[in-house]
């Protein structure tokens, strides 16, 4: 039991630090393709964090949709557009950037304050770990998806259809 706990901690710390490192690299690399590669690393680290939180289904979907489909699309567009690297003097600090970073630091302090100072509020649900272990992650999610969340599920399909149509119409060459 104690060995499992130590292993959990080691995996958590390693994954969390890798995710933060990858996030920093995404915003500091000049070449967009390097940013995209580090973003894939970030997504995979977050998928591992999902696994630590016992959400196997969402971890798989994260790798498939984020690290797979979306990033494939992004890299494809980077390749299509042949985006030049930002110039060397691009990283200088303009007043707008400084103000922006300061505002984000204030936001970050608020986030940390919000999660750190109090116990998490909320109503306890019915899916205890024992029950989840018995019926399984995917079965429980599917049960909710087709009962309580049926209407949002159908709306999501319409949303994807609209996304497809929008992408086709936008990228069509007008004659």
């Amino acid at each position: 039991m104690i060995a499992g706990s130590v292993f959990y901690w080691i995996v958590f710390i390693g994954t969390a630090l890798t995710a933060i490192f990858a996030a920093v690299m995404v915003i500091t690399r000049r070449s967009p393709i390097h940013s995209a590669m580090f973003l894939i690393l970030n997504f995979i680290c977050i998928a591992v964090l999902y696994l630590l939180l016992n959400s196997q289904f969402i971890a798989i979907v994260q790798v498939m949709i984020y690290a797979g489909a979306i990033m494939m699309l992004v890299i494809f567009v980077i390749m299509l557009l042949n985006v030049e690297e930002e110039e060397q003097q691009k990283m200088h600090a303009s007043p707008a950037k400084v103000i922006g970073v300061v505002l984000v630091l204030i936001l970050f302090a608020q986030l940390i304050y919000g999660v750190g100072v109090q116990v998490l509020p909320g109503e306890w649900g019915e899916f205890t770990p024992e029950r989840m272990a018995r019926i399984g992650d995917i079965k429980a999610i599917a049960g909710l998806l087709f009962t309580k969340f049926l209407f949002p599920f159908e709306i999501a399909s319409i949303l994807l259809l609209v996304g497809i149509i929008g992408a086709v119409i936008l990228s069509k060459k007008e004659r």
């Binding site: 967009p32 939180l53 959400s55």
Partner: protein
């Protein structure tokens, strides 16, 4: 039950990644990199939802993440189509060159 790691640490990681993504949106000038930073922020929020869902032993957060991912996929398709269109029309996707709606 929680093997030692309390949800605070997961929420902390999520907040850090969200803040880094916000900084990236503000300091980068390349539209595709800004788009990637937005995806990173969405993913950080998903981590928060999953953490809360696990902590409260509920599945509503997991379903919410499912729908956020749907929206992110649709957004990626439309957003990248817009970038291709902008590049075709203006020859750049630097946000400094795309200020059509600014007055």
């Amino acid at each position: 039950m929680f093997s030692g790691v309390t949800p605070i640490y997961f929420l902390f990681v999520s907040a850090v990644i969200f803040a880094i993504g916000a900084v990236g949106v503000l300091i980068r000038r390349n539209a595709i990199v800004i788009f990637m930073c937005i995806e990173m922020m969405l993913s950080a929020v998903n981590l928060t939802l999953i953490t809360a869902s696990h902590y409260l032993q509920s599945l509503d957060g997991v379903l919410m993440v499912f729908f956020v991912m749907t929206v992110a996929a649709a957004e990626a398709a439309v957003g990248l189509a817009i970038f291709v269109l902008l590049f075709r029309g203006r020859g750049t996707i630097k946000v400094d060159g795309i200020n059509l709606l600014k007055w």
